[in-house]
């Protein structure tokens, strides 16, 4: 794995060195973070005094060459895990039509398209639990490999943004002894393609408001690494609201995840949502409060396979912007997962470079 990390870094450095010989300038940008976590779940054992952890080293290149948009995001996680998180080629025909092909964030809801791996950009230390990345135990297909057409038009009632995606459906696989979702990066293990749509309106009558809906339909099958095979037809629908008034930002999303087991013809409809409110004082101090909830059907084979349980989490925190590139965050979390309750305390220093 370390060889893969080194290989990836050498590739990036090569691109940058070649840069000097090219008329197109690639600029390397990135994010990194260091955090400290302490949980009351770990009253005994090695973690009882908490853990320091460096988060991700997120390296990011984007450039437009002869009207082709190129984007590459390479992430080193946990010290030695290298992930090509995003790579896409794009072409902008007009503001009303932009086409991208490659691997990108699934156009599903608000958070998943607004916040990526660089935690400096997101208001909280962690993503909402149900929106976590696939390899962190997330239950939603937040990455996809496919083609995405999107655009934006002005209408009499406001600005309308829209998009439609066709891609590989996700699969469930086993990594390190646990089942996780996988975006099917190089081939699809089911005959049906995943489709997704999103639309959002920023009404002219209410400045700062954006209301969106999105959906994702896919067949999800497990691969041979999973002991108990899973096959579901999945429909995810979501609605989101973002509202900025003065220094207050409010965001909320609701997801309905319907899994149909074709072998029994049974449906399981699960729900997940969060609400987040932040207040920005002098662009520096940002207290925040987030509540999230996930309610699942215990017999749903998809969520059984991923080991997901009913979850409720309240997060209260304070962010301090050291400057426009760097921030400190401290937060308290009260978590209930599958009936087990505990508290967490966390601090993070995040940086963009």
């Amino acid at each position: 794995m370390k060889k893969r990390v080194m290989g990836g870094l050498i590739l990036l450095i090569s691109i940058l060195l070649l840069n000097g010989q090219s008329s197109h300038a690639f600029e390397l940008n990135g994010f990194t973070d260091v955090s400290f976590n302490k949980s009351t779940k770990d009253r005994v054992g090695e973690s009882r005094n908490g853990n320091f952890a460096f988060g991700t080293l997120d390296l990011y290149l984007a450039q437009t060459m002869d009207d082709i948009d190129i984007l590459v995001e390479l992430v080193v996680e946990e010290g030695d895990v290298l992930d090509l998180e995003r790579v896409s080629l794009g072409y902008t025909f007009s503001d009303a039509l932009r086409l991208r092909i490659g691997r990108f964030h699934t156009p599903l809801g608000f958070w998943n398209t607004a916040y990526h791996h660089g935690v400096q950009l997101q208001p909280t230390i962690e993503r909402p639990e149900f929106l976590k990345f696939e390899d962190e135990g997330g239950i939603l297909p937040v990455h996809v490999v496919g083609v995405y057409a999107s655009g934006k038009v002005g209408t009499p009632v406001g600005v309308l943004e829209y998009g439609a995606m066709l891609g590989n459906g996700p699969k469930i696989t086993n990594e390190g002894g646990r089942n996780v979702l996988d975006p099917n990066n190089i081939s699809d293990n089911n005959p049906g393609k995943a489709i997704a749509f999103n639309a959002a309106l920023s009404p002219a009558a209410v400045g700062g408001l954006k209301v969106g809906v999105s959906g994702h339909i896919a067949e999800v099958r497990s691969d041979s690494a999973v002991l108990t095979p899973v096959e579901v037809d999945q429909t995810i629908l979501s609605a989101d609201v973002v509202y900025t008034i003065a220094n207050v930002d409010i965001a909320g999303e609701y997801f309905s995840i319907k899994d149909k087991d074709p072998s029994t013809d049974k449906d399981y409809t699960n729900s997940a949502y969060y609400g987040l409110i932040t207040y920005t004082y002098k662009e520096k101090w940002i207290p925040y409060l987030m509540y999230e909830n996930k309610a699942i059907k215990e017999a749903d084979p998809y969520l059984i396979s991923l080991g997901s349980l009913d979850t409720e989490e309240t997060t209260a925190g304070l962010r301090y912007n050291i400057n426009y590139r760097s921030s400190l965050k401290g937060e308290y979390r009260k978590i209930t997962d599958g009936g087990v309750e505990w508290n967490e305390y966390a601090a993070q220093w995040a940086l963009a470079f």
């Binding site: 990011y60 984007a62 902008t92 916040y115 400096q120």
Partner: protein, 148 residues
Amino acid sequence: MNNRVRWGVAVGFMVLLLWGNAYAIARELAIVSNKDFPLNTITVAKVKEIYLGEKLTEGSVKLKPMEHNDEVLKKRFIEKVMGSSIDGYKAYWIKKFFQEGIIPPTNKASSADVLQAVAQTSGGIGYVWADEVKDDGVKVLLKVEVGN
């Protein structure tokens, strides 16, 4: 020196002071574009959309906004035209670039560089002090009073 001369000197001095003061207050910034830009004028709202990466095309022309490295001019542009703080604008572009892969405005070292690049680049758009625009092969789309 007789009274008439004294009065003449005083009035001349006052005129100079007023002219200098007016110049100081009324210095303008010009939004300039390549001659292929489909419109002859532009609104501040549209300039904002272009420099925030929200508007990428005008008609069939792909827009290529350019930034000025001169700190005073850049500060005036960001504060008075974009309605943002410098840090807020920079933070916005870090987010926009990372989230959507939209390339921020490219930096140019001087007004001469901005004017030359805008004149030579299809879809080029930039800003300079209005009194720096001569016959540079660019269109002046808008002038905005931004103080001195």
